[in-house]
C-alpha cells in the first residue's frame, strides 16, 4: 500500500521543483552567457591588440627599426603593469637582449648593415618550458590560453612573427619563425566579475525561489489545500452520522463546485437516511441486492389494535396519533429486538416477518412480550389492546408495486392465514397456526386446537391460543 503523502507536501514539491528548474535554468543561462560574453570580449580584445602590435612590430622591423619596436614594448609595460608584452626568439630568450640577431643579419647581408648594441636590458625575459609556446612555434600559429598564477588570472597569446619572403634578405631563408610575440593581460578583474555574477545570480535565484515558493504555497494552500481538507472533514463528519455539516467554500472554481456537489450529496444522504426509517430492512436489503423475487420459508406476524376505530372517534386526533405511535413504536422495538423485521404498517396494524432457524419461536416470544407489556401497562397505552396472529410457511418475497412506488413485501396463502388469525384474535390474544405450534410445541403452553373456518379454504384450520412459553437457556 502506498505511503500517505499530504497534498501540501506534494504541491510544495511541485512548486519548488518547478521553480528550481524553471528559474534555475533561466538564471544559469543568463549567468553563463554573460560570463561567456565577458570571456569572449576579453579574448577578442587581446586578439585585436595582438594584431595591432603585430603589424606595428612587423612594419618597424622591415626597414630595420627594431629598436623602435623594443621601445614600444617597454613603453606599453610601463604604462600598464597589468599588460606585459615581449618578443621572444624561437628558443624562448627575449629578443634584442644581445647582439646575436644583429650579427646574423650582418652575416646574411655580407656587410656591417647594423651596428651592434652596447647597452642591453638589465632583466632578460627567458621563457621556461611552456607547451603553449612550443605549440605556437611548432605549428606557426597563434595560441591563446588562460592561466592562474599567485591568485591572479591571465590571458596570454603567443603569436609567431613569421620570416616572410621580404624578410629573408636580412634574416635568411633557413627558418620560418623569427620570433614569438608574447602578450599577457591580467584579467583578474574580469574573472572576479564573472565570480560575482555567479554569486549574485545564485543569491537572486535562492531569493526568488524562496519568495515565489512562499507566495505560491500560501495561495495554493488557501485556494486548494484548505478547501479540500474542509471537504474531507465534512465527509468524515457525515460518515460519523452527523448530517448537519455543510461545506462552506467561497471559491468560484472546480473546488467550489465540488463543495456544492458534496453539500447536495449530504442532503441526499440525509433524506435517504430519514426515509430509511419508513422502509423495512428487507426492502433496503432488496434494493441493495436488486432482488426481483424469491420464495422463502418465513414466519408471519400480524398485530392489530382492537376497537381502534371507536377509540379514534372518542379522542382528539393528536391523542389518537400519539397513542397509536406509542403502541406501534413499542411493538416495533420488541420485534426488532427478537430479530424480526417490520414489513409494513397498515393503519393500526403491524406486519412483521421472522426468518431463520428459530423464526417461530422468536415470533411467539415477541407476541407474548407485547401482550404482557400492554396488559400490565394499560395507563401508558390508554387502554388500547392488540390481537396477534402468527403463521409460518413458504411465502413469496418481492418488490411489489409500480415503478414509482413499490414495497419489498411478502405475499401468499400463509400471509393471508396469518392475517386471518390476527383478525380472529380477541384483545390480548395470540393465535398461532398448527404449523407454528408444531415448531415450538413442547416449550409452549397453549390451548387448542380450535377449528377456524377460513374463507377460500375447504377444510377448517387448526389454531392454538398461545399463553406462555419457556425461554431457552442462553
Amino acid at each position: 500500500m502506498k505511503r500517505f503523502v499530504p497534498l501540501t507536501r506534494k504541491i510544495n514539491l511541485i512548486i519548488v521543483g518547478s521553480l528550481v528548474v524553471g528559474v534555475g535554468v533561466v538564471i544559469a543561462y543568463f549567468a553563463f552567457t554573460q560570463n561567456l560574453s565577458l570571456r569572449e570580449t576579453s579574448q577578442g580584445n587581446l586578439q585585436q591588440q595582438s594584431d595591432i602590435l603585430f603589424q606595428s612590430i612587423k612594419n618597424a622591423m622591415l626597414p630595420g627599426e627594431a629598436p623602435i619596436a623594443v621601445q614600444l614594448f617597454e613603453d606599453i609595460r610601463l604604462a600598464n603593469p597589468a599588460y606585459k608584452i615581449f618578443l621572444l626568439r624561437e628558443n624562448g630568450v627575449q629578443a634584442f637582449s644581445d647582439n646575436s640577431t644583429i650579427e646574423t643579419v650582418n652575416a646574411t647581408l655580407g656587410f656591417r648593415g647594423f651596428e651592434p648594441k652596447e647597452v642591453f636590458p638589465q632583466e632578460v625575459m627567458i621563457m621556461e618550458e611552456d607547451l603553449n609556446f612550443s605549440l605556437s612555434v611548432r605549428e606557426r600559429r597563434p595560441v591563446l590560453f588562460q592561466e592562474s598564477v599567485g591568485g591572479k588570472t591571465f590571458f596570454t597569446i603567443y603569436k609567431p612573427l613569421l620570416n616572410l619572403p621580404k624578410c629573408t634578405e636580412c634574416h635568411g631563408s633557413t627558418h620560418t619563425v623569427r620570433g614569438v610575440l608574447d602578450i599577457t593581460s591580467d584579467i583578474t578583474p574580469v574573472v572576479n566579475q564573472q565570480r560575482n555574477n555567479l554569486l549574485i545570480a545564485s543569491g537572486f535565484f535562492v531569493a526568488v525561489v524562496l519568495v515565489l515558493t512562499l507566495l505560491l504555497s500560501l495561495y495554493l494552500h488557501g485556494t486548494l489545500v484548505r478547501p479540500v481538507k474542509h471537504i474531507g472533514e465534512v465527509c468524515a463528519t457525515v460518515t460519523n452520522g452527523d448530517f448537519g455539516s455543510r461545506v462552506t467554500v467561497a471559491n468560484r472554481d472546480e473546488i467550489g463546485e465540488l463543495g456544492e456537489t458534496v453539500n447536495h450529496m449530504v442532503e441526499g444522504l440525509y433524506e435517504r437516511f430519514e426515509l430509511s426509517k419508513f422502509v423495512s430492512s428487507s426492502t433496503i436489503q432488496s434494493i441493495r441486492d436488486h432482488e426481483k423475487g424469491a420464495k422463502e420459508e418465513m414466519t408471519l406476524f400480524f398485530s392489530d389494535i382492537r376497537s381502534f376505530t371507536s377509540y379514534s372517534e372518542r379522542n382528539p386526533a393528536r391523542d389518537v396519533v400519539d397513542s397509536l405511535n406509542r403502541v406501534l413504536n413499542f411493538q416495533t422495538q420488541v420485534i426488532q429486538k427478537n430479530g424480526g423485521d417490520v414489513d409494513k404498517y397498515v393503519g393500526d396494524e403491524i406486519v412483521a416477518i421472522f426468518s431463520g432457524q428459530r423464526k417461530e419461536e422468536h415470533a411467539c416470544l415477541t407476541a407474548l412480550e407485547i401482550q404482557n407489556e400492554i396488559m400490565h401497562n394499560r395507563e401508558r397505552y390508554k387502554g388500547l389492546t392488540v390481537g396477534i396472529g402468527i403463521n409460518t410457511g413458504e411465502v413469496i418475497l418481492g418488490m411489489i408495486g409500480s415503478e414509482k412506488r413499490a414495497d419489498f413485501t411478502v405475499i401468499g396463502d400463509h400471509v393471508n392465514i396469518a392475517s386471518r388469525l390476527c383478525d380472529t384474535a380477541k384483545p390480548g390474544m395470540i393465535l398461532i397456526s398448527e404449523d407454528v405450534y408444531r415448531q415450538i410445541g413442547e416449550r409452549a403452553r397453549a390451548k387448542g386446537p380450535y377449528h377456524l373456518k377460513v374463507k377460500g379454504k375447504e377444510s377448517d384450520l387448526h389454531v392454538f391460543r398461545l399463553l406462555a412459553m419457556k425461554r431457552r437457556s442462553p
Binding site: 613569421l162 619572403p165 621580404k166
Partner: protein, 176 residues
C-alpha cells in the same frame, strides 16, 4: 498519447539530432593521381630553401580552371585574378636533394573560394599530411601572410618587380 504522435515526436527528435551531427567533409585536395595530370606553372622542382617549407623541395600544379586566369590593368597596376574554383597544389618533398620521383610527405593547396568564411584573401589555405591523409584548413596568418608577399616585389621567381597584384600566387600561370 496517441502512438502516431509518439512516432512523429521521436522522428523529429531523431532528425534534430542527426542534423546536429558533424557532417563528414569531402576531401578538399584531389588525389595525387588526379592533380598530377594538371599543368605545372613552373616545370622544375623548386629546390631552394624558403621560410614555411625550409629545406624541402616543392612541386606546383594548377587545375584547368586556374589556367583561365584573367590579367587586367587598372589604375596603372596589373591585376591577376584567378577564377573561383581554381586549385593550386604544392607538393612538399623532403630534402633539397633527391630524385624527381620522390613522394611528397605533405601537400598544400590554395583553393579559390571567396565566399568561404574560412578563406583569407579569397583563398582557402589547406595542408594535408600524406601519411594520415588529414587535411587542415589554415585559417590563421601562416600561409596567408607569406603569400601576401606575392602581391609585391619578392625574392622568388621573377621577383614581381612591377609590383603586380598576383592574387597571392608567387609563380603565376602563364599560357604557353
Amino acid at each position: 498519447m496517441k502512438p502516431k504522435l509518439c512516432v512523429f515526436i521521436l522522428l523529429c527528435c531523431f532528425m534534430l539530432l542527426s542534423s546536429c551531427r558533424k557532417a563528414e567533409r569531402k576531401p578538399l585536395i584531389p588525389e595525387i593521381s588526379q592533380y598530377r595530370r594538371w599543368e605545372q606553372p613552373i616545370g622544375d622542382i623548386l629546390d631552394y630553401p624558403i621560410p614555411g617549407h625550409e629545406d624541402n623541395r616543392r612541386r606546383i600544379f594548377i587545375n584547368p580552371r586556374g589556367t583561365e586566369v584573367r590579367v587586367d590593368r587598372r589604375e596603372n597596376r596589373v591585376y591577376w585574378e584567378y577564377p573561383e574554383g581554381t586549385v593550386v597544389v604544392k607538393e612538399i618533398i623532403s630534402g633539397l636533394q633527391g630524385a624527381d620521383t620522390d613522394y611528397p610527405f605533405q601537400i598544400t593547396a590554395m583553393i579559390k573560394r571567396p565566399e568561404d568564411p574560412q578563406s583569407r584573401g579569397g583563398w582557402l589555405w589547406v595542408a594535408k599530411a600524406v601519411d594520415s591523409a588529414e587535411e587542415t584548413i589554415v585559417d590563421w596568418e601562416f600561409c596567408f601572410d607569406c603569400h601576401a608577399n606575392a602581391n609585391e616585389s619578392h625574392p622568388y621567381g621573377d621577383g614581381n618587380a612591377a609590383d603586380e597584384f598576383r592574387d597571392y600566387v608567387f609563380y603565376p600561370y602563364r599560357k604557353p
